[in-house]
Symmetry: C2
Subunit: 316 residues, 2 copies
């Protein structure tokens, strides 16, 4: 067993204004990097690089630190305002529309990796401009799998708007974590299995394609692996579930100091379990309250969800 390693998360920190079927919620602490680092911190030391304005209270940073997130890399811009996203969800929570986006200080975000972070073997590049993702990679040491992992997220906006820079990113990362629609747009291929082969040929040897509540597929040199979504009786707010998944995944790998196919398969369950907690309340509320025993109980329930008795042999 390898020693526990740290996770470096780079990405957005935000305030979200949410119009949910259950009501309106303003100034909800959010942002992809917030969700990812909180999830990772449940499993390994997490280091956060992001940017905030004056309006992000010191006590709100302290809440992250209390969960084990190192916030030395969070830059505060005096006189600036934190990135703000406003959205409205459909009654069934299956879709959402963006009502307003105020980039604020995030518009000039140039990630600066603190010296104490540069040795991080496990790096999660959140969904930011591919040029910034490349800039982060130029600032950190590289530790290829299985002893380290560089994972990245992206989105349709960069797939269509910055294809060349994104292609550069793909050549330099180990693991891409995207959703099904993004995989189709990136590859131009509808079939998920063939889209995965196309994307892996562009660089990342490891690829995870998320299918929302249905689960996620992992494609790597060991083959294809599927982990379902955990079936919940109540979903309150899907915001950040995908970022939580990515953070949980890399957190589990960092905890074991290992990004091998074997460990990533187990990591998928932790990623999915943490994603299932995330959606049970508004913003990061539920995620921030999860304790080790709660996590262990859900992992246990998860293992029963997929336990078929260990053998699929047929009676002849």
């Amino acid at each position: 067993m390898k020693s526990r390693e740290s996770v470096l998360v780079v990405g957005s920190i935000a305030f979200d204004d949410l119009e949910m079927p259950t009501g309106s919620f303003r100034d909800v602490v959010g942002g992809a990097a917030t969700y990812s680092s909180l999830a990772a911190s449940l499993l390994a030391p997490a280091r956060l690089v992001g940017i905030i304005g004056d309006d992000f209270a010191e006590s709100q940073l302290a809440t992250l630190r209390d969960r084990g997130v190192d916030t030395e890399g969070v830059e505060r811009v005096a006189g600036g305002k934190t990135f703000r996203w406003s959205g409205r969800y459909a009654p069934d929570l299956m879709s959402r529309v963006t009502l307003d986006t105020q980039l604020n200080v995030f518009a000039d975000f140039r990630p600066k990796i603190p010296a104490s972070y540069k040795g991080s073997r496990f790096v999660l590049l959140g969904n930011i401009h591919p040029a910034l993702q490349l800039d982060v990679l130029s600032q950190v040491e590289r530790h290829p799998p299985p002893h380290g992992l560089v994972a990245a997220d992206t989105m349709n906006f960069w797939i269509s708007g910055e294809p060349k820079l994104l292609a550069d990113v793909l050549r330099r990362i180990d693991l891409l974590v995207i959703n099904e629609e993004e995989a189709r747009e990136l590859s131009g291929i509808h079939n998920v299995a063939r889209a995965a082969a196309d994307i892996r040929a562009r660089g990342p040897k490891q690829l995870i394609i998320k299918r929302g509540e249905y689960g996620a597929l992992l494609f790597d040199d060991a083959g294809t692996f599927f982990c379902p979504g955990y079936p919940l009786e109540e979903v309150i707010d899907p915001t950040g579930a995908g970022d939580t998944f990515a953070g949980g995944l890399i957190g589990y790998a960092a905890r074991h100091g290992d990004a091998s196919p074997r460990t990533l398969r187990k990591a998928m369950f932790y990623a999915s379990a943490l994603g299932s907690f995330c959606v049970e309340d508004i913003g990061t509320r539920r995620l921030a309250a999860v304790g080790p025993s709660e996590l262990a109980a859900r992992i246990d329930a998860f293992s029963r969800l997929v336990d078929y008795g260990g053998s699929l042999a047929i009676t002849q």
Copy 2:
């Protein structure tokens, strides 16, 4: 281990006219009971009850018999025409529209269970009028799980049109196999886990909710179980995949003479594997050609798809 039992399948036998992205195909042998019985016959003796017209060639029935399907229960109506369905699929095969439905002899279908079939311990009631499903149940002996199983399919048309008769059916079956949309319509509940609890309270102790290519959930007294869809590189024709799933499931249970939670969990993989074969060619072509070694190989690949190493324990 219990002895191998037979599967009785009651439902539609049809000719399908298919407009697929890959071309048009006419007079394709189809119908839910055809797919289900073919799938079941790969695992256990299958008995088919349905109705056909003069246009259904004896050689086409012989093809079913060659695969191990007993066709004594197939009624031929002299001077009649076989049920015909015509549909067009979207380019991505994710949706389809019905172009034409000619019920023909199926309009007057009154299932007559041959004496030799009445002892069948494993019964699959295809998606027919609930009154006919009840009529079948009045003709067969009942063998409750785990030593027998009565499974049924239904559809939105009966959920909205025949709620009282369908409620009767639900009280008299062991297992309901429906898709996600049908589960929502039947229960009036969007959330799948809560919809499942609602439906199980209406009768069937066992419930499978199919999620198309994503997989299927089983809800029973042992808890919740998930089996993914097998990720295919090429899908040609999704027609009959759900019926194949149901037939494979009950076929596996019948082969082991056991409808216990443990056996049904394994059966889900056989159901899903056979469904994945089904969609690889037009109509029943691929399904009818699957041999035991091919099936074993896909089950083997399937077990790798979900193999996470047997333990989800965390390093402390």
